[in-house]
Amino acid sequence: MTKHTSNAALRREKTHYIIGFTGAATLTVLAYASVTAQWFSATQTAAFVLVLAVLQLFVQSYYFLHLGDEPKPRWKSWSYLYSMVMMIIVVMGSLWVMYNLNYRMGMTGPQMEAHMLEQNKKGF
C-alpha cells in the first residue's frame, strides 16, 4: 500500500507526526515543570497533571495510533473505544466493590453491633 502513497499524502503524514511529537513532548515537559517548579499547590498540581495525561492520551491516540483518521469500517477506533469502556467498567467496578467490602470489613466488634441495631430499627 505504501508504494502507491503519493507525495502529498507522505508530506501530510510527516506533518502529522511532527505535530504529534511536538504535542506529546510539550505536554510531558509541562507536567514535569509543574511538579519541579511548584507552580501550584499539591492538589492543584495533581489535578493539572491528570488533565495533561488525558490530553496526552488523545494526542497519542490521534497522531500516532491514527484513531478516527482511518477509512471505514473504523475497526481500530471502535475496538479502542470499546476496550476503554470495558476497562473503565472493570476498574471502576472493582474499586466500587472493594471499597464497599473494605468499609464493612473495617468495623470493630462494638461498631458492628451498633450498626446491626441501627439496621434492625429500620425493620430488616
Binding site: 475497526w75 470499546y82 476496550s83 470495558m86 467498567i89 472493570v90 467496578g93 472493582s94 466500587w96 466493590v97 472493594m98 464497599n100 467490602l101 473494605n102 468499609y103 464493612r104 470489613m105
Partner: protein, 655 residues
C-alpha cells in the same frame, strides 16, 4: 551431595502414596508408552509429524483440539464418578478416599472440564467450521493457530503430570486464596494449577486475536457483517470477550504466583494484601468466561436449527443485537458470584439487577429458535435432538440462574449443591450439548462420512436422562442445606438423593460410551454413511459448497457472496460448474514445527516454575525467545499452488 540446584524442591515425599493415585501414576505412563510403541511399530511417526504435529491447517488443528477435549472429558468424567461414588456411600462409613484427595479430585474435575474440555471443544469446532463458513482459505494467522493449540496441549500435559508426581491443587477450580497461598498450600499442587491455566490461557488469548482478525478481515468478497452466518457472529462476540477477559486471568494468576514464588502480599491476609481482591478479579474474568463458552454453542444451534427446519433463522437482526447486548452486559455482572462476601445492599442490588437483565437477550435467542422451528419442515436428526435436550435443560438452568440473581435468595443457596446443579444445568445442558450438536453436524464435512444417527440420538437421551437424575437431586439437597464440595455428611436422609445422583452420573457415562461406540461403528460403516456430494444435510451456508472431507485449501475458487444463506440460494438458482479459467494461483502456509517447539519450551518453563528448578526456567525461556526470533526472521513460510494443480486437485476432490 546436594542436588537441589538441579532438581529444585523435588523429593521422594512428592511421589504418590495412596493406592488410587499409585494406580493412576503407574497406569498413565504405561498407557502413553503403549501408544508410542504402537506408533513406532506401525511406522506412523513421519505421517504423524508431517500431517498432524507440524500442520497449520485449521481443520486439522481443530480435529486435534477435539481429540484432546474428548480425552479430557473422559478424565474429568472419571473424576465426577469418583466424587459422586464417595458422597453416595459416605454415611455408611465407607471412605473411598481421604479428604485431601477428594479436594484434589473436585479441583481437577472443575479445572479440566472448563479449561481443557469446554475451551478445547470450543476452539476445535471454531477451527473446523469458522473459515469454511466465512468462505475463507484459512484463519488469519495459521502459524499462531498452531502455537495456540500446542500451548493448550502443554497446559493439558502439565495438569496431567500432577497425577503422577506432586499432587494437584486442593483449592477448587478458581483457587481462592488464602487457601491457595503459601501459608496453607506450600507444595507444588497449586503451582501445577496456576501454570497449566497460565500456559493454556495464553494460547486462548492468541486464538481470540486470531479468530477476531479472521472474521473482520478474511470474509469472502460480498459477505458484509450482516450477511455472516450467526455462528460467525457468536464467535466474533465470544472472541472479543476472550481478548478482554483473559488478560485479567493472566494478571490475577501472575499475582497469585508472585505471592507464592516471591513472597509478595497481593492476596495474603497480612502485609497489606487482600484475598477478597482475588475473588473480585478472578470473577471479572470468570463471568465473561461462561459467556465465552456458551455463545459459540448458541451459534452452532442457530446453524443446526436453520438447516434442519429448512428455514432461514428467525429474527437475524435481533439475534445479532442479543449477542452484542451480551458482549456488553457480561462484563457488568461478575459480583453476583460473591454476593455473600459482605458488600452492601447498593452493590448487591446493582449486580443482581444487571444479572436479571442479561437473561433477556438470552431469552430472545431461545424464542428466535422456537420461531425458526415454527412451521418449519423439521428433520429430527441427532443434532436436532441435541438441540431439543438443550432447550429443555438450558431453560431450567437459566431460570434457576435468575432465581440466584436475587441477592436475598442467593444468601440461602450460595455455595450449596443448588448452585452446583445450576451451573451444571447451563454448562452441560448448554455448552456441552451445543458442542455435541456441532460434532454430529460438522463431522461429515471433516471426515467425509456421517456419524450413525440413531446412536447419536440415543446418546442425547441418555445424557439428558442421566443429567436429570444426577442434578435434580442436587437442587433439592442444596435447598436442604448440603454445601458444595463435601465428602461426608451426618444427615442420613440425604443419602438416598446422593445415591440417585450417583446413578445419574452412571447414566451419563453410558451416554459417553454410546457416543464412542457410535463413532467406532460409523468408522466401520463409513462406506455406507459416506457423504458423496459434500452437502449431506441440504445445508444453507458456504461450508456445504465444498467437497467432503474439505480440502486443505478449503475453497478452490473464492466464493462470491450476495446474501445470507448464500449456498441455499445458489442451489435454488442453479450452480454454474466452474470453468478452468476460473482457477487462479493461491498461496498456502507451509507446515512448521516452531509451534511445537514454543510449546515445549513454555511447558518446560512451567515445570521449572512448579518445582523451583531455576536453571530449567532460564534455559526454557531463552530457548523460547530464540525460537520466536528465528520464526520472525523466516520469510520462507508460504508455497504456491498453481491454477493447474488446483484445477486437478479440485476435479479429483469433486469426483
Amino acid at each position: 551431595m546436594d542436588w537441589s540446584w538441579f532438581i529444585g524442591r523435588f523429593s521422594a515425599e512428592y511421589l504418590p502414596s495412596d493406592p488410587a493415585t499409585i494406580g493412576a501414576a503407574i497406569g498413565m505412563p504405561l498407557g502413553i508408552i503403549a501408544v508410542l510403541a504402537a506408533i513406532t511399530y506401525f511406522k506412523k511417526w513421519s505421517y504423524l509429524w508431517n500431517e498432524w504435529i507440524t500442520t497449520v491447517d485449521a481443520k486439522k488443528i481443530g480435529i486435534m483440539y477435539m481429540g484432546i477435549a474428548i480425552l479430557m472429558l473422559l478424565r474429568g468424567g472419571a473424576d465426577a464418578l469418583m466424587l459422586r461414588a464417595q458422597t453416595a456411600v459416605a454415611p455408611s462409613g465407607v471412605e473411598l478416599f481421604d479428604t485431601d484427595t477428594f479436594q484434589q479430585v473436585f479441583t481437577a474435575h472443575g479445572s479440566i472440564m472448563i479449561f481443557f474440555v469446554a475451551m478445547g471443544a470450543m476452539f476445535g469446532l471454531i477451527n473446523i467450521a469458522l473459515p469454511l463458513l466465512l468462505g475463507a482459505r484459512d484463519v488469519a494467522y495459521p502459524f499462531l493457530n498452531s502455537v495456540s493449540f500446542w500451548l493448550f496441549f502443554a497446559g493439558m500435559v502439565i495438569i496431567n503430570i500432577s497425577l503422577v508426581v506432586g499432587g494437584f491443587s486442593n483449592g477448587g477450580w478458581l483457587g481462592y486464596p488464602p487457601l491457595t497461598g503459601l501459608e496453607y498450600n506450600p507444595g507444588p499442587g497449586v503451582d501445577y494449577w496456576i501454570w497449566a491455566l497460565q500456559i493454556s490461557g495464553i494460547g486462548s488469548l492468541l486464538s481470540g486475536i486470531n479468530f477476531t482478525v479472521t472474521i473482520l478481515k478474511h470474509r469472502a468478497p460480498g459477505m458484509t457483517l450482516m450477511k455472516m452466518p450467526i455462528f460467525a457472529w457468536s464467535v466474533l462476540v465470544s472472541m472479543v470477550l476472550v481478548m478482554l477477559a483473559f488478560p485479567v486471568l493472566t494478571a490475577t494468576l501472575a499475582m497469585l504466583s508472585l505471592d507464592r514464588l516471591a513472597d509478595m502480599h497481593f492476596f495474603t491476609s497480612d502485609g497489606g494484601g487482600n484475598p477478597m481482591l482475588y475473588v473480585n478479579l478472578i470473577w471479572a474474568w470468570g463471568h465473561p468466561e461462561v459467556y465465552i463458552l456458551i455463545l459459540p454453542a448458541f451459534g452452532i444451534f442457530s446453524e443446526v436449527i436453520a438447516t434442519f427446519a429448512r428455514k432461514k433463522i428467525f429474527g437475524y437482526v435481533t439475534m445479532v443485537a442479543a449477542l452484542l447486548a451480551i458482549m456488553f452486559l457480561s462484563f457488568v455482572v461478575w459480583q453476583h458470584h460473591f454476593f455473600t462476601m459482605g458488600a452492601g445492599a447498593n452493590v448487591n442490588a446493582f449486580f443482581g439487577i444487571m444479572t436479571m437483565i442479561i437473561a433477556i437477550p438470552t431469552g430472545v435467542k431461545l424464542f428466535n429458535w422456537i420461531f425458526t422451528l415454527y412451521k418449519g419442515n423439521i428433520r429430527f436428526t441427532a443434532p436436532m435432538i441435541w438441540f431439543m435436550c438443550f432447550a429443555f435443560s438450558f431453560t431450567i438452568g437459566g431460570v434457576t440462574g435468575v432465581l440466584m440473581a436475587v441477592p436475598a435468595l442467593d444468601f440461602q443457596v450460595h455455595n450449596t449443591m443448588f448452585l452446583v446443579a445450576h451451573f451444571h444445568n447451563v454448562i452441560i445442558g448448554g455448552v456441552l450439548f451445543g458442542f455435541f450438536a456441532g460434532i454430529y453436524y460438522w463431522w461429515p464435512k471433516v471426515f467425509g462420512f456421517r456419524l450413525h444417527d440413531a446412536s447419536g440420538k440415543l446418546a442425547a437421551y441418555l445424557w439428558l436422562g442421566g443429567f436429570i437424575l444426577a442434578f435434580m437431586p442436587l437442587y433439592v439437597l442444596g435447598l436442604m442445606g448440603a454445601v458444595r464440595r463435601i465428602d461426608t455428611y451426618s444427615d442420613p436422609t440425604w443419602q438416598p438423593l446422593f445415591i440417585v445422583s450417583a446413578i445419574g452420573v452412571g447414566v451419563i457415562a453410558l451416554g459417553v460410551v454410546t457416543m464412542v461406540l457410535g463413532a467406532i461403528y460409523s468408522i466401520w460403516k463409513r462406506k455406507e454413511l459416506a457423504d458423496t456430494d459434500g452437502d449431506p444435510w441440504d445445508g444453507r451456508t458456504l461450508e456445504w459448497s465444498v467437497p467432503s472431507p474439505a480440502p486443505h485449501y478449503n475453497f478452490a475458487i473464492t466464493p462470491q457472496v450476495t446474501r445470507r444463506d448464500e449456498w441455499w440460494y445458489q442451489k435454488k438458482n442453479g450452480i454454474k460448474p466452474p470453468q478452468k479459467s476460473d482457477y487462479v494461483d493461491i498461496h498456502l502456509p507451509k507446515n512448521t514445527a516452531a509451534g511445537v517447539y514454543i510449546a515445549i519450551a513454555a511447558g518446560l518453563a512451567g515445570m521449572g516454575l512448579i518445582w523451583h528448578i531455576w536453571w530449567l526456567v532460564a534455559v526454557a525461556l531463552i530457548g523460547l525467545i530464540w525460537i520466536v526470533l528465528q520464526r520472525t526472521f523466516n520469510d520462507d513460510t508460504e508455497y504456491t499452488l498453481t491454477a493447474q494443480q488446483l484445477y486437478e486437485l479440485d476435479r479429483k476432490a469433486s469426483l
